[in-house]
Each structure stands twice: as structure tokens, then as C-alpha cells.
């Protein structure tokens, strides 16, 4: 297997806070990969670094063999990296289906003239996109909510909608920031099934998660961050037995 995402010596600090220091990480294509660590460890910052929200202090990030650090966020998205946010960032006042349709923007082609004139070609594209969007909603288990405002959906449904929106861009890498936060046990189980189904469609998944049970059962490899440093990486069994990890968690119970 080849590494789809490779992160090399990435550091990022905010004033005095060193959120990431010299993090290396390599994610194989086709895997489900977890990033864990106590609160404030730098996990979300790592996602933000990957999607180009922050400029790195040092280090490089490569996706599919090409450097992506320094590129604007929208270009990175178009290369095939989609994500969800720890604190949902749906387009709250747009319908669920519109949210998913916007997710397709990374893939849709169309000229300004098409948009201005509403050409038959544009309308045909639009219809097809709508079909696909419905399919994505079905895929994440959201039938019949298409026309509702995103903000009016239940919390669990909003989390799923965010995943559907991310999938709509047909990414090769999907970053999920705490997808199970706030979900009940049943919803968590459904989420695990959904993540596997996503992987089975050929999408590599990296997720940040605090629920150890979920992480251990779902993921093939795990990296542990603490105070901005990667303190361990390995298969679930190795991580469970790693003294440094145990200490990080005992030192700062999460």
C-alpha cells in the first residue's frame, strides 16, 4: 500500500501555544485511521493544517504524492480532501439538499455563461446533481429531510448531513472531526457502520475521536497526539498497551 497522506515534521504555534510540534504521520490509502489525544492536544489544528486554513510554521504535507501545504483551502478541497467540523458548520439556512449540492461544487463543472443564461446544459447538470445529492442523503440515512433547513434537523441528523455534504465532493480522503460527539450508543453504532461503508467505497477516512471503544473497534491504525506531539502510532492493540499513551490519558483525563 502507498501513503495517501503524508505529513512530515509539521509545526504550528499560536503565540506562546505550541499546537503542533514536529508531527509526522502517514495514512495508507483505503484505511480507517484515528487520531486521538486529550483535549487541546492539537488534533483539530492538524486537520486545519491539512485543509490549508493555517500556514505551517514548518514541515510539509503531501497528498497522493503532491505537496498541498501552502495551497488555498478550495484547491485542496478540489484535490480530493473533504472534511467535517468539530462544531458543525452547516449552511443552516439552506435546505439539506442544498447543503449537499454545495458539497458537489468541488466536482461540478460549468461556465459563467451557463449560470447566466440557464442553458439547457446547465439545467440538465443541475437535475443530475440533485439526483446524486438525494442519493448521498439516502446513503447517510437521511431520507425525507431534503427540503428542511439544515439548522432545523436533529443534532444526529446534522452530523450525518455534514458527512453527506463532504462525500458529495467525491473525496479520496475524508477527515471527520469528532463525528460521534454527542451521539447516543445506537447512533454511534450506526455511525461506525456508515464509516465502514464509506471506506468500502474506496474513500480513506481519518477521524478524530474520544470514544475509545469506537476507535478500537473501527480503526486499523491510530496516532496519539499530546501537547502537539505525536507520542505513539500503531494498531489498536499496540496503542492500548503503550505506557506513554496511558500516561497522557491519566495525566489529563479526557
Amino acid at each position: 500500500m502507498t501513503a495517501l497522506l503524508s505529513i512530515d515534521g509539521v509545526s504550528k504555534s499560536f503565540g506562546a501555544v505550541c499546537a503542533l510540534s514536529g508531527v509526522d504521520l502517514s495514512v495508507d490509502a483505503g484505511s480507517i485511521f484515528a487520531i486521538i489525544g486529550p483535549n487541546g492536544a492539537g488534533k483539530s489544528t492538524l486537520f486545519n493544517a491539512i485543509t490549508g486554513i493555517y500556514t505551517l510554521d514548518s514541515g510539509t504535507i503531501a497528498f497522493d504524492g503532491r505537496r498541498i501545504d501552502g495551497l488555498p483551502t478550495f484547491v485542496i478541497a478540489r484535490r480530493g480532501i473533504a472534511r467535517t467540523f468539530q462544531n458543525l458548520r452547516l449552511f443552516g439556512f439552506l435546505s439539506a439538499i442544498d447543503n449537499v449540492l454545495i458539497g458537489e461544487h468541488a466536482r461540478m463543472r460549468g461556465t459563467l455563461v451557463d449560470s447566466l443564461l440557464g442553458t439547457p446544459r446547465a439545467r440538465a447538470q443541475e437535475r443530475a446533481a440533485r439526483e446524486r445529492a438525494r442519493a448521498w442523503l439516502d446513503f447517510v440515512g437521511l431520507n425525507d429531510v431534503g427540503e428542511q433547513f439544515a439548522r432545523n434537523l436533529s443534532y444526529g441528523a446534522q452530523r450525518r448531513l455534514e458527512i453527506a455534504r463532504a462525500l458529495a465532493s467525491q473525496p479520496r480522503l475524508l477527515l471527520l472531526d469528532e463525528p460521534a460527539a454527542g451521539l447516543n450508543p445506537t447512533e454511534k453504532r450506526e455511525l461506525a457502520d456508515l464509516v465502514r461503508a464509506i471506506r468500502d467505497r474506496g474513500v480513506t477516512v481519518v477521524l478524530i475521536e474520544h470514544d475509545m471503544g469506537l476507535v478500537m473497534s473501527l480503526c486499523e491504525r491510530i496516532a496519539v497526539l499530546d501537547h502537539g506531539e505525536k507520542i505513539a502510532q500503531g494498531a489498536p492493540a499496540e496503542i492500548r498497551a503503550n505506557p506513554a499513551v496511558i500516561e497522557a490519558y491519566l495525566g489529563a483525563p479526557a
Binding site: 499560536f14 483539530s44 486545519n48 486554513i53 467540523f85 468539530q86
Partner: protein
Amino acid sequence: MHEFLAQLVNGISVGAIYALIALGYTMVYGIVELINFAHGDVYTFGSFVALTVLTALGVSGEVHGIALVIDVCLAILAAAVVCGVLGIAIERFAYRRLRNAPRLAPLITAIGVSFILENVMQLWQGPAQVSFPAVFANPSLALGPIAVTVKQLVVVLLAVGAMLALQYIVHNTRLGMAMRATAQDRDAASLVGIDVNRAIALAFLLGGALAGLAGFVSGVYYQSAWFFNGFSAGLKAFTAAVLGGIGNIAGAMLGGFLIGIIESFATWKLGGQWSNVTVFAILVIVLVVRPSGLLGTKPIVKV
């Protein structure tokens, strides 16, 4: 050289007025992140209040001795109080309801308030320029090679005095500290028991009062007032606040003086008709190149 110094002095005096107005923009922006578009008109309102008081006191030209002190104090007091209260009223009735609305909404409302104030003043004082009594005798004093008029001196002294008073209030009184805390983080401030509404009202009160003072000062300085003065003076003062770093009190003062000086030199070198264009061009350039201004800090993006 001579002309250069004269323009510099001129710019500093005009800049003092901009600085006083800019303080109101910066305090309000610092605490509620709103460009209080009506602030320039509050300043004009101050001119008219001062004019009304002076007229009632029978002042129509220069005044001397103790009468000068009394008249000036009363005019300033009235302008500052009325404008401070006007500021609070505007916040209470026009902006407070929209504190959590999309950012567009309060700004549009502010423009509306500005239009209303301008028209009210037009109804009250007419559409033409109104003349303002000289109040001070205005001989020119020689400070070494620099010629300074009494009025220029008065303008700058009053402005600097007010700014020192403001610094004291903001840094050394309980309410002032509540105001700064609210500007830092409104939610945290309300959690530790600060009355956020009062702190915000204070920002509008102080800003309004300073604008009132500026209104008096500019009336005396230009010997005229016009209902529409606030529009361009307000824009220039806002530019000053942005140049200094919006939300930053010292920055507003610095920016005010700088804009006054720049405008003065632009008028000298390019001609009066280009002075507005110069100032607005500076506004655009600063916002594009360094939106945090000279003394401001860069805001951080939270995800």
C-alpha cells in the same frame, strides 16, 4: 519650510477634531463590532446644540474674561451631555435588538439612523451652512518659527485634555474596566457578573460626549456648522480609527492627527478638491494592506 510648518499646525488642529470623533467609532467598534454610521451626525448635532446654547447665552461674536469661561463650559457641557444621551438612545432603540443579527442588519440600521439625524437637523437648522460665533479672539502667537492661532491652541488643548480624561475613565474606573472586559469577550464578561448592557451604553455615552465636544470645537474653529458636515467628517474620522487600528483608543488619536495632517498636506499640494479623494484612498489602502491598522492586532480565526 514656513508653509510646511503652517500646514503641519493646521493639520494637527483639524486632526484633533477627527481624533475626538474617531474615539467614538473605535470604542463602539471595539465593543459591539459595529461601524456606528450615525456617529458623524451625532458630532454635527453637537455643533448645533453648542450653537443653540451660545445663542441663548447671547454670544454672537468674541467673548472675553470670565464670561468666556462660563459660556464655553456651558456650551461644551450641553453638547457633550446631549450627544452622550443621543448615543445611548441610538444604541438602545436602534442597535440593541440587532446584536445577534447578521452583521449586515445593524450596519444598514446605522445608515438609516444617520439619514434620519441628518434630516432632523436639516429641518431644525435649514439646508444651508449656519454661521457659528467666533467665541475666542484669534490672534496669532509665534512659537519660535511656528505661527499658531489661539483657536488652534484651544482646539488641540481641549482635545488632548478630553483624551487624557478618557484614558483615565477607561483604565481606572470600574465601569471603564467593565467596558474593556466586555470588548475583550462579551460572554465571559457577563459570566463574571459584568452588566454588559451598561458597559456597551458607556461606550456610546463616552463616544457621543466626545463627538459633542468635537462639534463645539469644530463650530468655533470653522465658525460654521452644516447639517451634512457629519457625513464626510465621520468618514474621515472612521478612516482615522481604521488607520490607528480599530478598537484601539490610542490608535484612534494617532490616526486622527495623521489624517488631519495628511488632509492638510493634500489640500496644500494637490488642491482642496482632492483632499477627500486622498483620505478615502488611504482608507481603502489601509484596509486592503493592513486592516489591523498601525497599532491594532490581527484577529485570529477560530475553527
